[in-house]
Subunit: 222 residues, 2 copies
């Protein structure tokens, strides 16, 4: 809620204003990603941003709003791409390939995102509705059914042609996303169970990028 009265400020301030708000948001993202909404401290965000705690309230009024802004920012980077990729006008195999590469690349550069998203949706199922809506752009209750219908049509063509076993588009999508996202969400577990350090994990993901498309396509062969 920063007043947008910057018409006449041709001095040194305007640049700084925006930079500050952005720095706070960046700092908030870092902290919320690691600690979650409930575990995050305004104090830590302020320190991370290199500003005073009062400034957080000046720009975002409350912790809830700041946390909401961060969640929406992150969600809006994840979900539209999913819709976009699944809705593209390309073959099913191409969609599989693109989705896998896209998600594995994105999450490799945002290791904490899957755990954060799952955690937030788990602990705050209420506020999700509106955020996903605004993140996707249109109401997913409208958007997704048509997307799934088209996907189902594409699957049925392959099934009729005898090149694929039948599967509902819902199971199709979940299988695909599960294989891409879960390893990141469960990374702390894998460190222990499979004894992976950071380097080993990244190698594991690289290997996955090559193998997953074939794994998934084979899974649906008749």
């Amino acid at each position: 809620m920063p007043k947008t009265t910057r018409q006449r400020s041709t001095a040194k301030k305007p640049v700084r204003e925006e930079a500050t708000e952005q720095r706070i948001l960046d700092a908030a993202r870092v902290v919320f990603l690691r600690r979650g909404t409930a575990g995050a401290r305004m104090q830590e965000i302020a320190r991370q941003a290199g500003v005073n705690q009062a400034l957080l309230h000046y720009y975002f009024r409350s912790k809830a709003r700041l946390s909401g802004a961060v969640f929406q920012q992150i969600a809006s980077r994840i979900f539209p791409t999913l819709v976009q990729t699944l809705g593209a006008d390309v073959s099913l195999d191409e969609k599989i390939e693109r989705l896998i590469v896209m998600y594995l690349d994105t999450m490799s550069q945002n290791l904490f995102v899957p755990g954060y998203i799952i955690s937030e949706l788990h602990h705050h199922p209420e506020r999700v509705q509106q955020l996903i809506s605004s993140a996707i752009g249109s109401d997913p209750r409208i958007m997704m059914p048509s997307l799934l219908k088209n996907l189902g049509k594409q699957i049925n063509e392959r099934v009729s042609a005898g090149t694929m076993r039948p599967i509902t588009p819902q199971q199709f999508v979940i299988n695909l996303i599960s294989l891409c996202i879960f390893p990141f969400a469960a990374r702390p577990m894998l460190s222990i169970i499979l004894g992976m350090d950071d380097a080993a994990f990244m190698h594991f993901i690289e290997q996955r990028k090559k193998q997953l498309p074939e794994f998934f396509r084979a899974a649906l062969r008749p």
Copy 2:
């Protein structure tokens, strides 16, 4: 830390003592599962248990200890079964089948567990080490490598026989677990993206129980 001085208490108290500690633990599990360690309130746990807040400290000393007890209890129900199933002396196909049915059944009755585990490991990676250790029984750094080695041997036999494409045991296990667990961890998301209510989700899982074993075996056919 309740004193175990129950030698002479043949009166009406002993039963009540244990019942209380257990009721607190049960209540704590419910609350921590939904709110997470950071979001949970001692007050809410006390209310849920039908006792006073002071009693929580009498039995468990601090929130951290209570939360630790809950996490360990839950973890100790999940991880040993994984090790047990993967380590059993049965065919690879049998292991796949058993693991899928076991996890889908278990999680259907404990819908919040996957989200909780992922969330806790994500926000408190420090304390995980010891808890997993005590949950599995022996140090997973010792246990898991031998288990993976045996699994790898079993896979290689199938590969040599020409009935399976090569895959590392690590990727094998992660693929399997991803397909089983992720749908539960991402359930709040699916409600929105796929428009599933509770009944639809349970039907989705039932369907999955039938299809996943074949999906997974097909994925590894040459």
